[in-house]
């Protein structure tokens, strides 16, 4: 098979799997899960073949043509796509295998695995997309698969509400995204990524509005403030789904999309993006501190890390100097892309690991999710404990683990480009190690605090093998040799953009990240004791309450908007529609006379002639009105 054929096969495979499951295997959950997992194996194999192979290509096919508008579906396979493809393939496979164990007793397994396959199809479409219209198509489709999977336990009203919220909030982001795409199309005459990049290189002027509108799409998918509200709620879905969609891949699609269109960026737009990302990183980290649900802590942590990536992208380019043989070269690299994608990669590994680890915990505790009702699980779930600990160490930036390198890259970029952002991100890192160590200690150390937790035992190989693989990746995913040797340099063009600190900067960053780590982790370790109540709430109820209020403030605002403004507005319009419009204007727009003279009753006698008469008058009046306002 040629690389192009492999790529197409990788894209089509999950669609076929989903179709087969939907049509034939609805009642055969076991077979459905096998089909879906086999598809995931095929995708992972194809993805690694493509990534490790040397071929990078572009291909496309026209899909719709009307007048001078042509929309094509195509594949742009460069190093960036290769990196994303490898992540989706590998994490996807881990989650599929994990689901075999986790969802084994679920009554709707077929729907679940069909949904996973649809998701893989949609996500791969985003990875491959060579133009913005195609990206939008798959963008909407991942939104749909996310809706489907969040709504998996659909008898729970909370799941139904969460899935609805996720889709609608994403649609709000897509409103801007589509506007941006359409504007782009009108501006450049194409939305093909390569063609647009050429036009920009050729000196086409840029405005901040287009990239910012496109960024709206990323704000929805990657859950940036103020469109972040759907992600914590999305934890209603099964835990493997949270790992795959709401931590490792789909929510990272926003960052991937930004990297795809980085050539459209102008400083003003980057500035906005940077601050949105920074605000999200800080806000979400503050919210994570008060959470008691193991998945919610991880959800806010994901939000925070996504903020990190967005901020990294917004930090933009970096001037670097090379000294070679006495000659000094200065070059500008799009370091934002490098740092964001690097962190996206390591985050995909360790956050998928953490979510699957939490899945293993939840599975073992019979779906207990409250960390204050766990405790002491380290002894009962040794492998989960070991891998989860590695995941925690990676996210809080313990040296020599993946997160350490990628977070330092971002901190260095911030240090070089914007000190305020640097300070905020460093403080966020303190919070990160604080809430992660809190979580880790409450779940795994001390004595068990509930009936369910005391019976916990490790799940089967399907649950543990993915954890082991992801743990390994969380360790080695930060090293340059991982990309050059293991991935055979297949993603070199992305990795070479990762900013690296040298000299005194290096020391500053290293010291900062170590201080930050020790501060947060130390504080959490001393503050929290294995107990069934939150130590922070007892020692400092004011602060705890404030953080809680911070968390609900957005939800309160949106709930107020939906219930009190949007719904009332709709009701009022409906009222006018029913009474005023149906009753007065059309039955007699000229018939205000009717109100005065004949009275309303005359209008309701049901006399057909009268209705026709009033109606005609109304139409004539309307027409006269419309034409009268215009020169005729």
């Amino acid at each position: 098979m040629t690389p192009v054929q492999i790529a197409i096969a990788v894209l089509i495979l999950p669609l076929v799997s989903a179709a087969v499951i939907a049509l034939f295997l609805r009642r055969a959950g076991g077979l459905a899960s096998v089909v879906s997992v086999l598809a995931a194996v095929g995708i992972a194999a194809g993805a690694l073949t493509l990534t490790l192979g040397a071929d990078r290509f572009v291909t496309s096919m026209e899909w719709l043509k009307l007048g001078d508008f042509s929309l094509s579906l195509g594949i742009k396979f460069d190093d960036l796509a290769a990196l994303m493809l490898a992540i989706v393939g590998v994490v996807g496979l881990c989650v599929h295998v994990f689901s075999l164990g986790y969802m084994h007793d679920d009554g709707a397994r077929a729907r679940y695995f069909g949904g996973l396959s649809i998701f893989m199809f949609s996500m791969l479409g985003i990875v491959f997309a060579d133009n913005l219209f195609m990206m939008f198509i798959y963008w909407e489709l991942v939104g749909f698969s996310s809706w489907l999977l969040i709504n998996h336990y659909m008898d729970r009203p909370s799941a139904a509400a969460a899935s609805k919220k996720a889709f609608i909030v994403n649609r709000v982001g897509d409103f801007g995204f589509l506007l941006g795409i359409v504007w782009c199309y009108t501006r450049f005459g194409t939305t093909n990524l390569d063609a647009m990049a050429k036009l920009v290189e050729g000196g086409s002027t840029l405005t901040a509005a287009i990239p910012l509108l496109l960024f709206c799409g990323a704000m929805g998918k990657s859950a940036q403030i103020p469109l972040h509200v759907w992600l914590p709620d999305a934890m209603e879905g099964p835990t493997p789904v949270s790992a795959l969609i709401h931590a490792a891949t789909m929510v990272a699609a926003g960052i991937y999309m930004l990297c795809r269109i980085h050539f459209l960026m102008v400083p003003d737009a980057l500035n906005v993006i940077m601050w949105v990302g920074t605000a999200t990183a800080l806000y979400a980290a503050l919210c994570a501190i008060t959470q008691s649900d193991i998945k919610k802590v991880l959800a806010y942590s994901t939000l925070s890390q996504l903020g990190y990536m967005v901020a990294a992208f917004g930090l933009g380019s970096l001037k670097i100097t090379h000294e070679m043989g006495g000659m000094t070269h200065t070059m500008v690299i799009t370091a934002g892309v490098g740092a964001a994608m690097f962190h996206l990669t390591t985050h995909a590994f360790f956050k998928a690991l953490l979510f699957l680890g939490s899945g293993s915990v939840i599975h073992a505790c019979h779906h207990e999710q409250d960390i204050f009702r766990m405790g002491g699980l380290g002894k009962k779930l040794p492998l989960t404990f070991a891998t989860f600990t590695l995941g925690v160490a990676a996210i809080i930036g313990v040296p020599f683990l993946a997160g350490f390198f990628s977070k330092d890259a971002i901190l260095y970029l911030a240090f070089a480009n914007n000190r305020a952002v640097f300070v905020i991100l460093a403080f966020t890192a303190v919070l990160t190690s604080f809430y992660m160590v809190r979580l880790w200690k409450l779940v795994f150390l001390g004595e068990t605090r509930s009936e369910n937790a005391s019976h916990a035992h490790e799940g089967g190989l399907a649950l543990t093998a993915p954890l082991a693989l992801l743990a390994v990746l969380s360790v080695i995913g930060g090293y340059g040799w991982f990309y050059s040797a293991v991935l055979r340099g297949g993603v070199a063009k992305v990795i070479e953009l990762v900013p690296e600190a040298h000299g005194s900067d290096h020391t500053v960053i290293l010291v900062t990240s170590l201080v930050v780590l020790l501060l947060g982790a130390g504080a959490a370790f001393t503050l929290y004791r294995p107990a069934s109540t939150d130590a922070l709430a007892e020692k400092s109820p004011g602060l705890f309450g404030l953080l809680g209020a911070l968390k609900v403030s957005f939800d309160r605002f949106y709930d107020y908007y939906v219930a009190k403004i949007q719904q009332r507005f709709a009701m009022v319009l409906n009222f006018i529609e029913q009474i005023f419009l149906a009753g007065v204007i059309i039955r007699g727009m000229a018939g205000v006379v009717g109100l005065v003279g004949l009275g309303m009753r005359a209008l309701h006698v049901g006399n057909l002639n009268a209705y026709v008469y009033w109606f005609l008058l109304g139409v004539v009046a309307l027409w006269a009105f419309a034409t009268g306002t215009l020169t005729f």
Partner: protein, 503 residues
């Protein structure tokens, strides 16, 4: 292919012939059996012409042209049948929805089934005729033929408020039809042509265009006349009321197909013959559509509690997009309207069908009284969710292509209107997902619990599934492979085909 094989005529005549036979006293057993055939024949013919459209010989942009004298030649009228790239997709739509509505009616066990089938057959025959007619007189005649059974069906088999709904629908639609007839006659008289033949008229008017004022006035008549038929705001109030009361097959056929008559008339007749009129009216039309149909009606849709009313209003809202595409006057926009007409036809028909199947299980249309139906009827839930996502424009379903192309075209027409129109995308997601959640997810409401205890809920039966499947397959087919329709539309909209239709 022999000369006597005219798929268009067969598609029109087959249902009408059976309707006549039923009227003449065909026994019920045979009526029902033959009805399967009469419902299937138009669809088969439609698929036949769809498949052979690209390689059929074309004359003046029309394929499958035939002409039958009907004794009105002196007035320049004859039954001239043919399809161009705009009417072919709609012919397919009529065949598909007709078949689905027919199948659904056959299993519905309606009272006075023979009469019900007869009216439905007349409606389908009329619909096939509307889109196959090249002669404007017959185009209009077939519309009336299909319209009258609608009123009767609402009046006899309708639900709540059926007599008021039937009367209101009759008045609005008759008046709309009359105004558009006035426009058509004015067009005929003013053009000085001697024929109602659309090809000849195009020919004639390309050579002798009408004056601007005349164009503006006639276009205005057609726009409001046809506009009423397509539920242009604020002349739309018949639609939710009528559809709320109509029996499902009638609602499927009217909302799905017959309603498109107005848009079809505007695209096929008003646009190419009165280009200056369109330019003149474009902005008022676009503002009525975006502010009225999309935004106001969109919000009104959010406020609906009754499932059928909600579908009715959502359909009014989506017609706003069609008007917007039309207002752009560009090939892309108008092509998008044709795609959207087909897509909306299939999706709204599917929604009306499913609304009735939901009613059979919950004994109510009030969404708050339902809940949790997906646990008891997962296949029904899957169909409904698919139809909902189709109608809110999810890629993979036909509707997406129509909306997307209209939005792209609209930006060039007016960025501001595009922004407002796109807000509708969020609005439709709100009401679509909300209704799906209220009906199918969460816990059942008390009312539904009581009903379910009395009448155990069954999932979709095969007789219900079959017509739904026809519609869903059509939506997915066009959704995955839009070129299967867009190539024909594109050819028909090329400037050459629009103005000078020489052979």
């Amino acid at each position: 292919m022999s000369l006597t094989f005219d798929p268009l005529l067969i598609a029109i005549v087959a249902p009408l012939a059976l309707a006549l036979a039923i009227a003449l006293g065909l026994p019920k057993r045979w009526s029902v059996r033959l009805a399967y055939v009469a419902f299937a024949v138009p669809l088969l013919m439609a698929l036949h012409v769809w498949y052979h459209f690209s390689d059929a010989t074309q004359l003046g942009g029309y394929a499958f042209l035939t002409q039958y004298p009907t004794g009105l030649q002196a007035l320049g009228i004859s039954l001239k049948l043919g399809l161009n790239g705009i009417s072919m997709p709609l012919f397919v739509l009529a065949g598909g929805v007709g078949f689905a509505a027919g199948l659904y009616a056959l299993q519905s066990g309606a009272e006075r089934l023979k009469l019900y089938l007869m009216l439905l057959l007349i409606m389908i025959g009329g619909l096939m005729g509307v889109f196959a007619s090249v002669d404007i007189f017959y185009f209009y005649f077939f519309h009336e033929l299909a319209l009258i059974p609608t009123f009767i069906m609402v009046g006899i088999w309708g639900g709540r408020d059926r007599s008021y709904a039937a009367m209101k629908m009759t008045i609005y639609l008759t008046v709309g039809a009359m105004i558009s007839l006035l426009g058509l006659i004015a067009l005929y008289v003013k053009s000085g042509a001697t024929s109602f033949d659309l090809i000849a008229l195009r020919h004639h008017l390309a050579a002798h265009p009408l004056g601007e004022t005349v164009q503006n006035n006639i276009f205005g008549l057609l726009m409001f006349g046809f506009g009423i038929l397509v539920s242009l705001w604020p002349l739309h109030t018949w639609a939710p009321l009528g559809y709320g009361a109509a029996p499902s097959s009638a609602a499927m056929l009217h909302a799905g197909v017959l309603k498109k008559f107005g848009l079809y008339g505007l695209i096929q007749i008003a646009m190419p013959l009165l280009p200056a009129g369109l330019t003149h009216w474009a902005h008022p039309l676009a503002w009525l559509a975006v502010a009225g149909n999309v935004l106001v009606v969109g919000f009104i849709t959010i406020a609906q509690r009754d499932l059928k009313q909600m579908i009715g209003y959502s359909s009014v809202m989506h017609m706003g997009y069609a008007f917007l595409g039309l207002a752009t006057g560009s090939m892309l926009g108008v092509g998008g309207v044709v795609l959207l007409m087909v897509a909306h036809g299939f999706s709204v028909a599917l929604l009306f069908l499913l609304a009735t199947t939901v009613h059979h299980r919950t004994h109510t249309f009030t969404m708050d009284d339902m809940g949790g139906l997906a646990m008891k009827a997962p296949v029904l839930a899957a169909f409904f969710v698919a139809a909902t996502f189709a109608s809110i424009g999810l890629p993979g379903f036909a509707n997406f292509w129509g909306e997307l192309t209209i939005f792209v075209a609209l930006w060039k027409f007016s960025p501001l209107i595009t922004v407002l129109a796109l807000a509708g995308v969020v609005i439709s997601a709100i009401y679509g997902l909300r209704s799906a959640a209220r009906i199918f997810f969460g816990q059942p409401a008390t009312h539904f619990n009581e009903i379910a205890a009395q009448y155990p809920v069954k999932d979709l039966t095969w007789t219900e599934k079959a017509p739904a499947l026809v519609l869903l397959v059509a939506l997915l087919w066009v959704g995955f492979w839009p070129k299967s329709l867009s190539t024909a539309i594109d050819t028909a909209l090329q400037p050459a085909a629009q103005t000078a239709a020489r052979n």
